[in-house]
C-alpha cells in the first residue's frame, strides 16, 4: 500500500441527496450547504471508508469522465481536503469504519 494512501468516508452528521445528477450536501452542525458537480458527486458516493481515494479516482472518475488521471487525482485531493475542513468527509491514511448514530 503506498504511503500516501487516503481513505475517505461520509460523516454521519451530514444530510445529502442527489438532484439532477448533482449532490446537495448540508452539515447540520453549522448549516454549511454545498452542491457537488458530477465528478465530485462520484467521489462522494464512493466514500465508503475502505476504498482508497486513488482507486476511486482510477476506477470511477477516470472510467466515467474524460479527465487526465494525474489532474483528476490532484483535483480529488483538493476537493477531499475542502469537504474534510467542513466536517463533511472524514479522511484517514487507514480504512475507516462506517460512522454509526
Amino acid at each position: 500500500m503506498p504511503e500516501n494512501c487516503i481513505y475517505i468516508a461520509r460523516s454521519s452528521a451530514i444530510a445529502a441527496r442527489a438532484l439532477a445528477g448533482e449532490m446537495m450536501v448540508m452539515n447540520s452542525a453549522d448549516s454549511t450547504f454545498f452542491t457537488l458537480n458530477e465528478v465530485a458527486t462520484t467521489i462522494f458516493q464512493a466514500a465508503d471508508g475502505h476504498t482508497p481515494l486513488r482507486e476511486i479516482v482510477r476506477d470511477r472518475v477516470c472510467e466515467q469522465f474524460d479527465v487526465d488521471p494525474e489532474q483528476a487525482q490532484a483535483d480529488a485531493e483538493q476537493f477531499v481536503a475542502e469537504l474534510s475542513s467542513h466536517g463533511i468527509l472524514l479522511v484517514s491514511n487507514q480504512p475507516l469504519a462506517a460512522e454509526t448514530f
Binding site: I14, A15, A16, L19, A20, A29
Partner: protein, 368 residues
Amino acid sequence: MSLMSEVGQKAFNLGVPLAVHMDVTYRCNERCVHCYLDHDDHGEMTTAEIKDVLDQMAEAGVFFLTFSGGEVFMRRDFFEILEYARRLMFNVKIKTNAAMIHEEEARRIRELGVDTIQISVYSHRPEVHDAITKLPHSFERTIQAIRFLRQQGLRVTIANVLMRGNSSDHLAVQELAAELGVQYSLDPTITPMMDGDTSVLALRIPGEELTEVFHNPALVGNQEEFCAPPKPPSEEDLEGYSCSAGHSFCYISPYGDVFPCVQFPLPTGNIRQQKFLDIWSFSPQMNEVRSIQAKDLTVCSSCSHVSSCSRCPGLAYMEGSMRGPSTADCEKSFYRTGVPTANMLRQGLSKPRTTASLIQIRPVAIPA
C-alpha cells in the same frame, strides 16, 4: 440568488419534491386553545409504514424533511423513525412543544444530526403560556428543554403563535429567545379545527394589531421596504406561481394522506394505496395545483398586491377556491401597506373582513 435559492428553484423547475412536512401523529400532551387538530388516533401509520414512505421519499429526491404533529414524542417509536430518516440522509427539522425532551433526549437528538428544532412558546409569562397549552408547568418544562438542547449545541427556533391571549407578549418572547440563544419566529395565523369548527377563529388578533407587528423592524427587518406600497406587477409576475406547495413541497398526514401543503386540505392520494411518487407525479389534484399561475387567479390577478402578497393557495382553497383570494392574506397585505386589495375593493370594504369561513384537513376515507 443564494445557493439554497438556486437549488430550490431547480427543484421547482424539475418538479422534484425537495421538501416534505410529515405529521407522525395528531396525538398531543397539550391541548392548546387554538389548535386545529383532533387528538385521537384514527389509525396512524405504523413504524414499518413510515419507514417505507421514508424510503420512497429518499428515492423521489426529498431532502428537507420536517417531522411534526401533534407532539412527535407521543410516538414511542419516534427515535427509531428519526434514526431511520437520518440513515437515509434527510436534512431533518423537528417541530415539538419539547415538554418531553430531557437531557437524554437532547443528547440523542444531537447524535442523530438533527438540523433544527422548532418549539412553540406562547408567552414569557408561565401563566399565559400554560393557559394556552392547558398543561400545567408546560412553560417551565419547555424552557428547560430548550436549555438542554442548547447545551448540546443544537439550533432551536421559538415559534410564537400570536392570538388575543398573548398579543402583547411577543416582544418579551423575542427577548427570551435572545437570552436563550435561539432564533425567534412569529405567526399570526389561526385556522379552523379539522371538523370545520370555526370558533377558534375568535382567537385571532384584531387586524389593526397586525399593523404594529408589520411595522416592527425587530420582526420584519427593513420596515420601509417591507411596508412599501406594492409595485405594479410585471408580465413575469403574472406568469409566476404562488408558492412551493405541489411544486417542490407536500404534506403527509399520520394516516398517509398526501396534500399539497399542511395548510392546503386538498386530498391528492394516500400512500397506503399508491406509491408516493405516483401521487406526486400523477395526481390530477396535484397537477391542477401546480398549473395555476398568478394570471389565472380570479380576483388577485387584477390586484396591485399580486407580486408581493403572501397569498396562500391553501387558505384560498379553504375559503372555497384555490384560484380565489385568501382573506387572511388580503388582511396582511392591507395592514402591511395601507393599500386596499382588489378583494376588498370588489366588496366595497374599507377594512378587510377578518372571519372568512374555512374548511380544514380531514382524514381521507380509505375504501376497505
